[in-house]
């Protein structure tokens, strides 16, 4: 498919899912009333629902989906591994641990932004560890192994915190948060993540030529004038900003970063640089759509969006692998 057409199509899909998300919720507000409430103000209750509940939720769906899609595509390109996803370098697990620790200590309730701050601190710690490892001329495999180790360690510590948690309610809260959700987020959350994600997108975009060159391996890329060590820093920081910020406001949402690049890649010329924007738009559409499903699929009760992405994602991925057994990438 033509690249411009693909981007337009995915952009339109994201827009559609965004509109659907704005129109979805327990309060019955008609489409016209919703738009009026969003734009002009309109009647008080509808305005509050639209501007303070649905808008931040829909925006976060787009932003987080975009970030996870871009980060997944960049990591797969950088590690030259179709199984790579943002979780593989341990950043989302560490961010989760940071948030969980705040739940455990009770600091999570201090401020609305305490939890995101804890998660960002967790992500930052993992980045420092990854950078320390990759600074010493590490290979890509070392980076993956370090990420897996970091991920397991953060997972183990999260389990430990759950084990030690003072009361069942705290454990419930932690588990619920770990499942990932966009419920009850505010515009403050949007303003918190937007600059971080923006920086992350910029870092990944800046490394796009490097990702193409790395299709020829590290030695091949280096022969093309690419500074592999410097681009490694850029990619790690970009992914950390995207995924750290995403996890900070939504908890851990899996599968988007893994599946979306695979879904979109066959529609591109498969060069990693050409995949970044489509994967971001695809991620935005998919997560926003999954969030709508999580709110509507079983009537009154809401599912966690992380559960929905996993439930849609895993079987779909399996089908994809089955259908194109020969080659996915």
């Amino acid at each position: 498919m033509n690249r411009v057409k693909l981007i337009a199509l995915l952009g339109a899909m994201s827009g559609l899912c965004f509109a659907l998300s704005l129109l979805t919720g327990p309060a019955r507000i008609g489409p016209m009333d919703s738009i009026r409430a969003l734009m002009a103000g309109g009647n008080e209750a509808a305005m509050i629902i639209m501007r303070e509940i649905r808008l931040p939720r829909a925006l976060l769906g787009l932003l987080i989906g975009f970030s996870l899609g871009v980060a997944g595509a960049a990591l797969q390109g950088f590690l030259r591994n179709p199984l790579a996803e943002p979780g593989i370098v341990g950043i989302s697990a560490s961010a989760s641990l940071g948030a969980v620790l705040l739940f455990y200590t009770g600091l999570a309730g201090v401020s609305l932004l305490a939890l995101p701050a804890g998660a960002l601190a967790g992500a930052a710690v993992s980045v420092v560890v990854l950078l320390a490892i990759s600074a010493a001329q590490a290979s890509t495999i070392t980076l993956i192994l370090a990420g897996v180790a970091l991920s397991s360690l953060a997972g183990a510590l999260t389990s430990l915190v759950l084990n030690l948690s003072p009361n069942p309610y705290a454990s419930y809260e932690i588990i619920f948060w770990l499942l990932g959700s966009l419920k009850d987020r505010t515009m403050d959350h949007v303003w918190l993540v937007l600059p971080l994600m923006g920086l992350g997108w910029a870092a990944l975009w800046a490394s796009s030529r490097t990702l193409d060159a790395l299709s020829l391996g590290e030695e091949g890329a280096s022969g093309l004038g690419v500074n592999v060590a410097r681009s490694r820093l850029l990619v790690i920081c970009g992914v950390a900003l995207c995924v750290g910020a995403a996890t900070a406001v939504s908890g851990a949402i899996g599968f988007i970063g893994l599946i979306v690049p695979h879904l979109v890649r066959p529609l591109t010329n498969r060069l990693p640089s050409q995949l970044l924007l489509p994967a971001g738009l695809g991620g935005a559409a998919l997560l926003t759509c999954a969030d709508v499903v999580s709110r509507t699929v079983i009537g009154e009760r809401e599912l966690n969006v992380g559960v929905v992405t996993a439930l849609i994602g895993a079987p779909f991925f399996l089908w994809l692998v089955f259908r194109s057994r020969r080659e996915l990438f």
Partner: protein, 255 residues
């Protein structure tokens, strides 16, 4: 541009692999780098390509390559590593176009000149008919030609190719060597490592034979391809003949 190594030494994992090597590659020549496995050929090529830290001095037309920026070096020296890595099933055309990467900044697109150079490189390596195929689905020999076309498309005064002819059928081995000759004929400096002694003897202007991290012999093919040197470097006996096209050589057995 001449590329010179002066007292170059290099170590891998603490083991010295190159001992004080002196070598000057001249423009307009195809220089063949020969030697048994582990002689240090690839290491020497990586040093010359500016890909490996080393002792001594490597100069391109008098400029120390260690002081060049990555991009300036990539615009001067094309380096084809021995390992043939192709990570995604991108088209042959896209692989060859990667060779133009050093000539672009982050926002530029392929110019008419870029496309022309890529088309010429693909023509030279006989991969034009494969242009739209996925490079990962090609045979090993076809991939070797595609990657060589990528290096040629880089359009640099110096070309260093590590075993580009291995895995190629005889016809394509010959046409690969003929293309290297053609590139040298345009005034480029070409260094190629080879294991096929006949191919080296017939197609290279100059042969450099390495053993144990040092240069054991250096000269025109008829000076280097002697039974005495082959015995010493490879430990083989060979029958060496000559026809109107040059030397031919048949390894007969171990000494």
């Amino acid at each position: 541009m001449p590329l010179s190594a002066t007292s170059v030494s290099a170590s891998l994992s603490g083991r010295t692999v190159l001992h004080q090597v002196d070598l000057t590659l001249r423009p307009g020549q195809v220089t063949g780098l020969l030697g048994p496995n582990g002689a240090g050929k690839s290491t020497l090529m990586r040093v010359l390509a500016g890909q490996l830290g080393h002792g001594g001095h490597v100069g391109l037309d008098g400029t120390n390559i260690a002081e060049m920026s990555d991009l300036v070096r990539a615009r001067s020296i094309a380096w084809l590593p021995q390992a043939r890595v192709l990570s995604w099933s991108i088209s042959v055309e896209a692989v060859v176009q990667l060779g133009r990467l050093p000539w672009h900044d982050w926002r530029s697109v392929m110019s008419a000149k870029d496309r022309e150079l890529c088309a010429a490189a693909m023509q030279l390596l006989d991969v034009t008919s494969l242009a739209l195929r996925a490079a990962t689905e090609l045979s090993g020999g076809e991939q070797a030609r595609v990657l060589m076309a990528r290096a040629v498309a880089q359009d640099t005064p110096v070309l260093l190719a590590d075993e580009p002819a291995s895995g190629l059928d005889p016809a394509h081995q010959i046409s690969m060597m003929a293309s290297l000759r053609q590139l040298a004929g345009q005034g480029r400096t070409v260094l190629v490592s080879l294991h096929d002694l006949s191919l080296a003897a017939r197609w290279c202007d100059r042969l450099v034979m390495m053993k144990d991290g040092a240069i054991a012999a250096d000269g025109e093919p008829n000076e280097v391809m002697t039974n005495e040197i082959l015995r010493e470097v490879y430990g083989i006996n060979a029958q060496i003949g000559r026809d109107e096209c040059g030397l031919w050589l048949a390894p007969l057995g171990l000494t």
